[in-house]
């Protein structure tokens, strides 16, 4: 069944003064799709996300969600970045409810949502802890639960697991896939870790460097859960690596 287009990026251009960062980027993301964007460090991935959320004004082209220009007040967009953005004065539970409180959801609903997502990321027993009592992976779990609790239609993730060691990263990646499957949220996941992109994405967008263009779009039809040691996985990973090769 063909899914409708959720996000459409059309001839996007972004310049900082005379410096061309994003050069004529066009692609679309389907409803409920998990799209991974890979590219060398400093290739403008974050600039792209910031343009998408309206944090930066774009120089040319357009970005739409459901055919309308992005409006953070209207569209439910959640953004998770590499640095842990938990509010230090709130407990785990209050942090997970944070976005719902911002949107003035009813206390009962906020509590229920928080319960659900704390449970899903395994934080229920840490609900009364403050962020400075938590480990790095737990902090990122709080942020992920906070994002999913808002039931976002679009989830943007900018190298969210960049600071974690390999084992924790695997665990959180699996949790993320689980949450994504249950919620049906559209995900745009940016990473410079090729293995991570091949493990998570239904489609992989490979970017080139300075100015950023789309080098190639690769459909990833490997069945989930994926085995990182399987020959097909390794083959796809090598294919993406060949396209990037920034070293």
């Amino acid at each position: 069944m063909d899914r409708p287009v959720k996000v459409k990026v059309d001839h996007l251009v972004k310049k900082f003064d005379e410096l061309l960062v994003l050069d004529d980027i066009s692609f679309s993301v389907k409803q409920g799709e998990f799209l991974c964007i890979v590219g060398p460090t400093g290739c403008g991935k974050t600039t792209f996300l910031n343009s998408l959320t309206g944090l930066y004004d774009i120089t040319g082209g357009s970005i739409t969600i459901d055919g309308e220009p992005v409006d953070l007040k209207k569209h439910r967009v959640a953004y998770i970045f590499q640095e842990y953005s938990t509010m230090p004065w709130l407990t785990v539970e209050q942090n997970v409810q944070f976005a719902l409180n911002l949107k003035r959801e009813k206390a009962e609903k906020a509590k229920k949502q928080a319960e659900k997502y704390m449970e899903l990321v395994g934080l229920t027993e840490f609900r009364d802890y403050y962020p400075d009592q938590l480990s790095a992976s737990m902090l990122q779990r709080v942020v992920i639960a906070r994002a999913f609790a808002t039931e976002p239609e679009l989830l943007l993730m900018d190298e969210p697991y960049g600071q974690l060691d390999t084992e924790l990263r695997y665990r959180l990646e699996n949790e993320l896939l689980n949450l994504w499957r249950q919620s049906g949220t559209t995900v745009i996941f940016i990473t410079h870790n090729i293995e991570e992109a091949v493990y998570l994405g239904e489609r992989i967008l490979v970017l080139s460097n300075k100015p950023t263009t789309i080098k190639k779009e690769i459909a990833n039809r490997l069945p989930m859960p994926r085995d990182i040691a399987a020959p097909e996985f390794i083959e796809l990973r090598n294919q993406v690596t060949e396209l990037i090769k920034w070293w």
């Binding site: 640095e83 509010m87 709130l90 944070f98 976005a99 911002l102 400075d132 906070r146």
Partner: protein
């Protein structure tokens, strides 16, 4: 108050060694005082600790002037409370405004930096001329003493909010107003509390100074009257009252801060 007392006691109990050092420290003071009092016989007059404490407790029921010491303390505390609360509210508002708005900072800060180095005591003559000899001039001095510290700390708090947290709230759909109420303000609370704590101590000192210069009641007045009458015991009774109240005020602030800023371990 009872709950706060309980909390303090619980902490002390949990840390018996601390309690022991407190006892040793006060015992040393009392012994040194007793020895000084005995050695000073016939020269400088230093009343013995027992005599002073006896007078102190007696003054709780027998008035000094028109009021008992508790009433004097109540009068002084009421002035401090009024000046401190008004200064805190205005100081927080101005400090946070300067922290979030570079324009407000550019306009207010030069004036603030000009007024700041003038010690509150230097305002006493003006305040007496402006507000008369009653409580108002003292409340004004307390206001000035507190205002500076609360403003500076609120400013620092609002200025030092992690931009990453503001960004996260924005991304989660927070309006500017909600960013303020849900991120900037709570994030500034430990700074504000540090300011309030200093402000309260300074207010108390300013109040006593203002009462010593001119007053008809209050704990500072007890000291001035003691000096005028050559009653050294009364002076020391007044000083003990000032010390005890100052200590209680700072303990109270620490306990409140500990509760409100539990998340901020460096501060608690």
């Amino acid at each position: 108050m009872q709950r706060i007392g309980k909390t303090v006691w619980k902490r002390l109990k949990a840390n018996r060694q601390t309690l022991l050092w407190i006892v040793i420290s006060f015992a040393t003071l009392l012994i040194a005082w007793q020895v000084a009092s005995m050695l000073s016989q016939g020269r400088v007059q230093i009343p013995a600790p027992l005599e002073v404490f006896e007078a102190f407790f007696r003054s709780m029921t027998v008035p000094i002037g028109k009021n008992t010491i508790l009433e004097h303390a109540g009068i002084s505390l009421w002035r401090v409370l009024l000046g401190f609360v008004v200064a805190s509210v205005i100081g927080m508002a101005i400090g946070i405004l300067m922290g979030v708005s570079p324009k407000a900072h550019a306009v207010i800060n030069p004036l603030f930096e000009f007024v700041r180095p003038i010690p509150p005591i230097a305002w006493i003559p003006l305040s007496i001329l402006w507000f008369g000899l009653g409580s108002s001039n003292k409340i004004f001095i307390i206001f000035l003493a507190s205002f500076t510290y609360v403003t500076i700390n609120s400013y620092e708090g609002a200025r030092n909010v992690d931009p990453k947290l503001i960004g996260a709230a924005r991304m989660l759909g927070a309006s500017r107003r909600r960013v303020f109420t849900h991120v900037i303000f709570p994030s500034s609370v430990p700074y504000i509390f540090a300011g309030l704590q200093i402000a309260l101590s300074v207010s108390w000192a300013a109040e006593v100074a203002a009462e010593i210069i001119y007053s008809q009641n209050g704990v500072g007045w007890i000291i001035t009257m003691g000096m005028n009458n050559g009653n050294i015991t009364q002076i020391m009774v007044g000083m003990i009252a000032i010390g005890v109240i100052g200590y209680l005020l700072s303990t109270l602030m620490r306990v409140v801060e500990g509760r409100l800023c539990r998340w901020n371990r460096q501060e608690t």
